[in-house]
C-alpha cells in the first residue's frame, strides 16, 4: 500500500465513521484490511483501494470501515459505571419518573452486546422496583457484523468469564456446547440497531441514560465536541451520560457537567423544561422490561 493509498483510507474512515488514524498506524490498517481484501478477491491492498476509489462499491466500503472498528467488550466492563447505574441513576429516575414510569437508555457503542446485556441484568435484579415500568434499552453500533453477534447473545467461555459473576452466568445463560447464550427474556429487553454516531440522533427521541463508552477516544477533538453536543440535545435535563475511563467532557463542551465524586458520570448542563422536552419527542417505542409495556 502506498502512502497515497493510506492517506486515502484515512480520509475515508474519518468521513464515514469519525475514526482518526495517525500517520504511524499503517501497519494496523494493513493487518485489518488484508483479510477484507482476500475475502473480496483482491490480490493486494492497493487493488482494494483502487476499487474503493472508483466509488461504486458501498458494500466494500462498509466492510473496510467495519474492519477498522475496535470491538473489544466484556460484561460489566470497569464495574463502576454499572454500580453508578444501580445505585445512582436508576434510584434517581425511579423518583423523578413516577408519573411517566418510563426510562429510556441508549448504549451508543454496543459492540457485541455485553454492555446492554449487563444493563439488562442489572435491571432484572431490580425488577421488583420496576413493576409497571417501561424500560427501553436501545443498543447501536456502527458495525452490523458485531450487532448480529449481539442479537444472538452467544458468547464463548472466555467472553463470559470476563467480568460476569458466576451467579449471573448460571442465572441468565444457557450452555450450548462450548458456548453460552443469554436468556431470551434478556435478549428481548434490548433493541439492537445499526447506527453511525456521525448520523442524526434525533430519530431516537430523548433518553434518560446514555452509555457512550470507549468510542470517543477514536475521534478527533472536533468530532468529540460534535457528538457530545448532539448527545446533550437528545437527553433529558436530569439524565445521565456515562463515558469510558479515558474519556471526558471537560475541556470539550459545556453542555454536560461532572457529577461530583462519580468519575465518568455526567449530567446535562442545558436547562430546558423536562415536560416540554418529553412532549416534543417521546421517541419510538422499543422493548419493555418486566413485561410491563
Amino acid at each position: 500500500m502506498t502512502p497515497l493509498d493510506y492517506d486515502y483510507l484515512r480520509r475515508c474512515l474519518k468521513e464515514r465513521s469519525g475514526l482518526v488514524l495517525s500517520a504511524d498506524k499503517q501497519y494496523l490498517v494493513e493487518s485489518r484490511l488484508l483479510p477484507v481484501a482476500r475475502k473480496s478477491g483482491f490480490s493486494s491492498l492497493g487493488d482494494l483501494v483502487h476499487a474503493l476509489r472508483s466509488g461504486h462499491d458501498d458494500v466494500l466500503m462498509t466492510a473496510v470501515v467495519e474492519a477498522m472498528t475496535t470491538n473489544e467488550s466484556f460484561f460489566f466492563r470497569d464495574k463502576i459505571p454499572f454500580d453508578h447505574f444501580r445505585t445512582i441513576m436508576i434510584p434517581a429516575l425511579l423518583a423523578s419518573r413516577r408519573t411517566s414510569r418510563t426510562i429510556r437508555i441508549w448504549c451508543a457503542a454496543a459492540s457485541t452486546g455485553q454492555e446492554p446485556y449487563s444493563l439488562a441484568m442489572s435491571l432484572k435484579a431490580m425488577e421488583r422496583d420496576l413493576v409497571g415500568w417501561r424500560v427501553e434499552i436501545l443498543a447501536t453500533d456502527l458495525s452490523s457484523e458485531v450487532l448480529e453477534k449481539a442479537r444472538q447473545g452467544l458468547y464463548s467461555q472466555f467472553e463470559v468469564q470476563r467480568g460476569l459473576p458466576i451467579q449471573l452466568l448460571l442465572q441468565h445463560f444457557t450452555q450450548i456446547g462450548e458456548l453460552w447464550q443469554i436468556a431470551p427474556e434478556l435478549r428481548a429487553m434490548v433493541k439492537f440497531r445499526q447506527f453511525n454516531l456521525l448520523g442524526d440522533f434525533s430519530q431516537f427521541g430523548l433518553f434518560d441514560v446514555v452509555f457512550c463508552r470507549n468510542v470517543l477516544i477514536y475521534f478527533d477533538q472536533q468530532t468529540k465536541i460534535d457528538v457530545l453536543s448532539r448527545l446533550s440535545r437528545v437527553m433529558m435535563n436530569d439524565g445521565y451520560l456515562v463515558l469510558g475511563a479515558a474519556e471526558t467532557v471537560v475541556g470539550l463542551v459545556d453542555s454536560f457537567k461532572v457529577v461530583p465524586d462519580n468519575r465518568g458520570l455526567y449530567t446535562p448542563n442545558v436547562r430546558r423544561p423536562p415536560a416540554a422536552a418529553t412532549a416534543a419527542k417521546p421517541g419510538p417505542r422499543l422493548v419493555a422490561v418486566n413485561g410491563a409495556r
Partner: protein, 121 residues
C-alpha cells in the same frame, strides 16, 4: 500481602497460576491435592484458594466441604479453577461454598476479573 493457596495436581497449572497471582501481589502456597491443602489450611488459613476439582486423594469438592467446617474455614475466598465446565458442576461448587468459578483454560484477565469479583483485589 495477601496469600493464595493454589491447589492443583498439575505442576504446570500451579506454575502458571503462581506467575499470574504473584503478578497480582499475592504470596503463593501450593498443594498437590485436597489432603495437602487441608493440612496447609490447618497450619494457616490463606486469604484465597484457587482450587482444581479433579485431584488424587481428595478432590476439590470434598476439600471445600471439609474446609468450610474448619474453625475460620468460612474465611478464605475459594475460586474453583477446573475443566468441569458444565452447569451442574458450577451449581454444585457454589452450593458447597465456592465464591467464584473459573473454567479452564484461563488467562490473567480472567483470574484478575474473578479475584476482583470476590473482593480479593
Amino acid at each position: 500481602m495477601k496469600t493464595c493457596l493454589v491447589v492443583d495436581d498439575s505442576s504446570v497449572i500451579r506454575k502458571v497460576a503462581r506467575r499470574i497471582l504473584e503478578g497480582l501481589d499475592f504470596q503463593i502456597v501450593e498443594a498437590e491435592n485436597g489432603e495437602e491443602a487441608i493440612e496447609s489450611c490447618k497450619r494457616q488459613l490463606p486469604d484465597a484458594i484457587l482450587l482444581d476439582w479433579n485431584m488424587p486423594k481428595m478432590d476439590g469438592y470434598d476439600f471445600l466441604r471439609v474446609l468450610r467446617r474448619l474453625p475460620g474455614g468460612d474465611g478464605p475466598k475459594v475460586v474453583f479453577c477446573t475443566t468441569e465446565n458444565d452447569v451442574a458442576h458450577i451449581a454444585r461448587a457454589l452450593h458447597a461454598g465456592a465464591n467464584e468459578y473459573i473454567m479452564k483454560p484461563f488467562d490473567k484477565d480472567i483470574v484478575e476479573a474473578k479475584f476482583q469479583e470476590v473482593g480479593l483485589i
